[in-house]
């Protein structure tokens, strides 16, 4: 048992002491954050120490860690349920208002780019899987798009249809999870339960198709790993018969909730010009009024043949970012319907050698994931491993706006804004 310093003797209930008890300097010290508070030495060793223990490295870091009058630091994370992973935010507060934010990344850094540069081309696909673990098919998709351009591989049409079909299913799963977690971060427990029902049905049917529930490792250079099977089709048919109705019901749970709408409307407004300057993509950019979606802006796969809309909104606040996701789920259901009606017959893999040694060259492949543009830039030097494998993750760019969006808001709105940007830390930290 650690010994604790002796407390002042207990007094009769309700009685105030005649004069404040002076602390003995050997046992107590003033708090860094609030000089009026005295802390036990033993406790203060475990308290959050806001100033980094090394000299400030940049102008911006020095500016952030200089405390103005009445300002204090608060640390959120890295282990915090509302940061969607291991994100750490150092907030500078004045009262309850946020003055400045410094996100600290890297708690989940695994060096995937380096690992990929030391694996062969087939192996890369399962290395990139755990990046965006909520929607891992899209990260595979970006990698195979880049490799297929590098090697001039033509993908069979049936494989393209299966890619779009499974991808759009996963987009719905990711968006329903986003909607549930956004509500959960605002204190609403119910929507996450319904979200997980939807997500679970989708990952179960994808498990029937690919063999895994989360890290699918399904796309291959030149096609997909396996053809559609009976269990997948029967589960999908089951789900499609009520998907549209169910998603409307789930959306109504939040759209008509006054607390939810009042806590998100007008909070964290990201306007069009700022979003473009920050390189934000995906639903967050479309909520700011820019109709930029790689599926239409730079079409790949069979998307040019499909009929769907790109929903946009002009408000750019957290509510708009949520409503964009709801609209995208509707569009994805339309796409799945068209895929099922037009699915061609044929092979699902192109014929490729076992050992891939692409000609020296460079290729950039990008696809539209649920969070925005996922890109992969590959350089080949003629060997069986990529010479350079660069992964561009949309969450990284979306999270970068947090230091711009947060200041001026209340501490409680941190959760709204971060959750509405939909970061996945597995992708951000690579």
């Amino acid at each position: 048992m650690p010994t604790r310093p002796a407390r002042p003797t207990t007094r009769a209930a309700g009685a105030r002491p005649a004069r404040p008890v002076e602390p003995r300097p050997s046992e107590q010290q003033r708090s860094e954050d609030d000089p009026r508070i005295m802390l036990d030495r033993e406790i203060s060793a475990d308290l959050y120490e806001p100033i980094p223990p090394y000299p400030t490295r940049t102008e911006r870091e020095g500016e952030f860690y200089t405390r103005g009058d009445g300002e204090m630091f608060i640390n959120i994370g890295p282990h915090h349920p509302a940061t969607h992973g291991v994100l750490r935010l150092v907030l500078k507060l004045s009262g309850e208002q946020i003055v400045d934010v410094d996100p600290v990344l890297g708690y989940l850094h695994r060096g995937v780019e380096k690992i990929c540069e030391n694996s062969d081309y087939y192996h890369v696909i399962d290395q990139v899987d755990p990046l965006e673990y909520v929607s891992s098919l899209f990260q595979e998709w970006a990698a195979v798009l880049s490799f297929e351009k590098l090697m001039d591989v033509e993908v069979p049409r049936r494989a393209e249809y299966i890619r779009v079909l499974s991808g759009e299913l996963l987009r719905i799963a990711s968006h329903t999870l986003y909607i549930g977690f956004l509500a959960l971060d605002l204190g609403g427990l119910t929507p996450i339960l319904y979200s997980f029902i939807e997500r679970d049905e989708i990952v179960e049917m994808l498990a029937a198709l690919t063999g895994a529930r989360m890290l699918f490792n399904y796309f291959r250079i030149g096609g997909v790993n396996g053809d559609l099977n009976h269990e997948f089709m029967s589960r999908l048919g089951d789900w499609m018969s009520r998907a549209a109705k169910q998603t409307e019901a789930d959306a109504a749970l939040l759209n008509e909730n006054e607390i939810f709408v009042r806590r998100t409307r007008g909070v964290g407004v990201l306007d069009r010009a700022t979003a473009l300057r920050f390189g934000v993509t995906g639903g967050n950019l479309r909520a700011a009024g820019v109709p930029f979606d790689i599926r239409r802006a730079h079409p790949y796969s069979i998307y040019p043949e499909l009929d769907f809309n790109i929903p946009t909104r002009d408000e750019g606040d957290s509510l708009a970012r949520y409503l964009i996701r709801v609209d995208e789920v509707r569009e994805s259901i339309k796409i799945i319907d068209q895929c099922l009606h037009n699915m061609p017959d044929g092979p699902v893999m192109a014929k490729l050698p076992r050992l891939l040694r692409p000609r020296p060259g460079r290729a950039w492949g990008a696809c539209e994931g649920p969070r925005g543009m996922l890109g992969v830039y590959t350089i080949s030097d003629g060997s069986d491993q990529p010479f350079r494998f660069r992964i561009h993750d949309p969450s990284f760019m979306n999270l970068e706006t947090v230091p711009t969006l947060l200041p001026g808001n209340l501490l409680a709105d941190t959760m709204t804004i971060v959750a509405s940007l939909d970061p996945v830390l597995g992708g951000i930290d690579k």
């Binding site: 980094p52 090394y54 000299p55 490295r57 940049t58 102008e59 911006r60 870091e61 990344l105 890297g106 850094h109 060096g111 780019e113 380096k114 540069e117 030391n118 351009k149 700022t274 473009l276 300057r277 920050f278 390189g279 934000v280 993509t281 930029f292 802006a297 730079h298 020296p360 060259g361 460079r362 290729a363 950039w364 990008a366 543009m373 890109g375 830039y377 350089i379 030097d381 003629g382 010479f387 350079r388 660069r390 561009h392 990284f396 760019m397 970068e400 711009t404 930290d429 690579k430």
Partner: protein, 185 residues
């Protein structure tokens, strides 16, 4: 391939483009010198017939002989991706002008390129490590940073510490040892 884009780029940037404009699949590629980077980026961003407003990616590359900074840009005026390769950056003292004056979002991308390659972006006011811890002393994606278990290529040396914390960079004894090099192209 967008032949029209090639003509427009030649008309606007003839003096700055090094070598031929390469086009393959849906990508148009130009090479420039580090000093020209701010001018070229501003031209492709602002010209009415180019308007590459979306910064899709900023990547550092270590070719084994030199460093590169690679920009991927998107514009609604062209069906192609525009790739701008800033090459000829020295490996011993890699420096490149920052793109933050056009895209604020480049700040974190440049921090990442600095963290992984040690490229100093002049003009970025927050150039510190982003993924690796602040007292880390090496640049992991450089080609002379060898994975200890990479039996295929490593001469068994493992991590080479080329940067002291808070001090000037230490030049490695033999910077070319065991370095995988990109083909000349």
């Amino acid at each position: 391939m967008d032949r029209n884009l090639k003509r427009r780029l030649e008309a606007r940037l003839d003096a700055q483009i090094q070598g031929p404009i390469r086009q393959r699949h849906d990508q148009t590629e130009i090479r420039i010198k580090p000093g020209d980077a701010p001018d070229v980026l501003r031209t492709v961003h602002d010209s009415v017939d180019l308007r590459f407003e979306i910064l899709a990616d900023l990547a550092g590359v270590d070719t084994g002989a030199e460093m590169q900074v690679v920009y991927h840009l998107w514009s609604e005026t062209s069906p192609d991706w525009l790739r701008i390769i800033v090459d000829g950056i020295s490996r011993d003292d890699p420096r490149c002008p920052s793109a933050t004056f056009l895209w604020t979002g480049a700040e974190w991308l440049e921090r990442e390129a600095y963290d992984m390659f040690g490229i100093i972006f002049e003009g970025n006011r927050d150039l510190r490590r982003i993924f690796m811890p602040p007292d880390y002393t090496s640049f992991p994606l450089r080609k002379d940073f060898l994975l200890p278990d990479d039996a295929a290529r490593s001469p068994g040396e493992g991590v080479r510490h080329i940067e002291r914390p808070y001090g000037p960079a230490v030049v490695a004894d033999d910077p070319a040892a065991g370095v995988r090099r990109a083909p000349a192209s």
